[in-house]
Symmetry: C2
Subunit: 318 residues, 2 copies
């Protein structure tokens, strides 16, 4: 059985020990720790554990938690460190200029701007250091995939489209931005987690890897659109949010898109029997349903023409 709490504990322990061992004995260590811990949802790292568990289970392997700890946990940690660096840099005054992050001052607010730039760069390099410890039998492929997905044609380009304003120009740009900025790390979690198992052992491996990439893509888009929706759970919505949030702008496109992507997610999960991956997603969707349910009066007030959210919310409960 894949127990979320067990995997969460192991990932948290590894994050803490990695930061303790791989940062210098210097006051800057506090900034590294502050930027990563306490950890957030750990959505990407948990997906690594889940896909590793599911594929190992499908191959009849025992003690999947043990083999996760021996290698793939380092990929999980790499993804979390990489995610953390993007947040630290995104919050900078010349980027999104966010003073707060996870209910605390953002890194540059707490410690200064050059500290945030350098600690972000440090976490980025550290993510590759951890990737090298994933014990993947396909390290070269994994490194290529990781750098491509996070690099100039991947995650970074999502940030470029966001900050340049192109993201908000039309629906197509919006989805492309979400693909780059949000889906790439989720795809890496799933495909990368699979590449921590000897490919030759997985039946139809190329087909499986492609389906996992598509699952990650759909998850990224859904993840981001739901995140955009929860902005309207609040009493007040900022002027900026009205300008960039897709819900008031393309209400007729969002619900069909959400439903279609959610169905794709369900199909891949059913087809590949990804019970642990389903557990991780369920846990995230449950929180979203709760937030949306509590915030529904505000959502209705702000977005009175968006149509019936029911079918999409039902799909979050698979």
């Amino acid at each position: 059985m894949f127990e979320l709490a067990d995997y969460r504990n192991i990932i948290d322990q590894k994050l803490a020990s990695c930061l303790g061992r791989s940062t210098p004995n210097h006051t800057v260590r506090e900034i590294y720790n502050y930027s990563v811990l306490p950890s957030g949802k750990l959505f990407r790292p948990l997906l690594v554990g889940a896909i590793h568990h599911d594929l190992a289970a499908n191959l009849g392997q025992e003690s999947k938690l043990d083999s996760f700890v021996e290698g793939p946990v380092n990929l999980a940690v790499a993804l979390e460190l990489h995610h953390a660096y993007t947040l630290v840099h995104d919050d900078l005054p010349c980027m999104d200029d966010d003073d707060m992050r996870r209910g605390r001052p953002s890194t540059h607010k707490a410690f200064g701007q050059w500290q945030a730039v350098l600690v972000g760069d440090g976490l980025l390099n550290l993510s590759y250091q951890m990737l090298g410890q994933s014990e993947s039998p396909h390290l070269k492929e994994l490194l290529k995939l990781f750098a491509y997905a996070t690099g100039p044609k991947g995650l970074i380009q999502g940030q470029v489209l966001d900050l340049s304003g192109e993201m908000s120009e039309n629906w197509q740009n919006l989805i492309q931005t979400h693909q780059f900025k949000t889906a790439r790390l989720i795809q890496l979690a799933l495909v990368g987690g699979a590449l921590c198992i000897d490919r030759d052992q997985i039946p139809n491996q190329l087909r499986v890897l492609k389906k996992l990439a598509r699952l990650g893509s759909s998850l990224g888009v859904v993840f981001q659109l739901l995140d955009d929706l929860t902005e309207f759970c609040e009493e007040e919505v900022s002027q900026h949010e009205w300008q960039v949030n897709p819900w008031p702008r393309w209400p007729e496109k969002i619900l069909p898109c959400l439903e279609s992507e959610l169905k794709k997610i369900q199909n891949v999960i059913a087809e590949l029997e990804l019970l642990s991956v389903k557990k991780v997603i369920d846990s995230y969707f449950l929180k979203t349903r709760e937030s949306v349910s509590v915030g529904m009066p505000n959502i209705k007030k702000h977005l009175n023409g968006i149509g019936d959210l029911g079918p999409a919310m039902d799909l979050l409960q698979f």
Copy 2:
């Protein structure tokens, strides 16, 4: 024969083709190109070519340029891209706040700050993408080394010590900062270049790798101290330079340090018969001797108590 011009051409071609292929078809491509091309001295990439040539020659291998192009050139490009990212981030207003770089507006001056942050991040990721294409038989070791040398306990910590002002507190901190900030990439060029050859083929490989690491360390310190010296070739020296430059502050320590490190460099080169590496270093030292020679009246004016530069300058001519 190791011909500097041949290797320079190949590295330049590969840099250009890598940027063309690995950046998106979008206006941001211009910023990537601007931040890397036209290339500078290519000191680190040329060292990769030189050490690869020397070790291959010592093993009696033919067509060393061909085998460089098949793999190690990608490590050379990775180091140049990584070096370029550090310059782009270093120049940011919240870091060194430099408006000019290589005689042109720095990236953030020419294109904006968020563009400089993101293009720097993009180049950083791209450097790992190229590392993955180095065809090293020791990719895992190389990745570990690369990420360690450039990460929180390596290059980044050099930048932290620099920006925090700790670098200028005492002589020991200064040398440590140069080790982190300048020597690490040079060590990577030498040791990484050696790791592109099957270790088992190199006699006494561990000893050789250690000596190369020490050579890189000495080169980094010499490189930086000479760079600091050339600041005084100018008619005017800024207030900031007087505060942080080690030449007016520790004149009694610099010359003995320079001489000792230069002797170590000569010894390793002679012992391991690194004729091509010597060529790359010679070419750099020649330029330094010329600058120092032309600027000597200003150096004498600014630093009248520094003692006789002759012995150190003679050592630059080995």
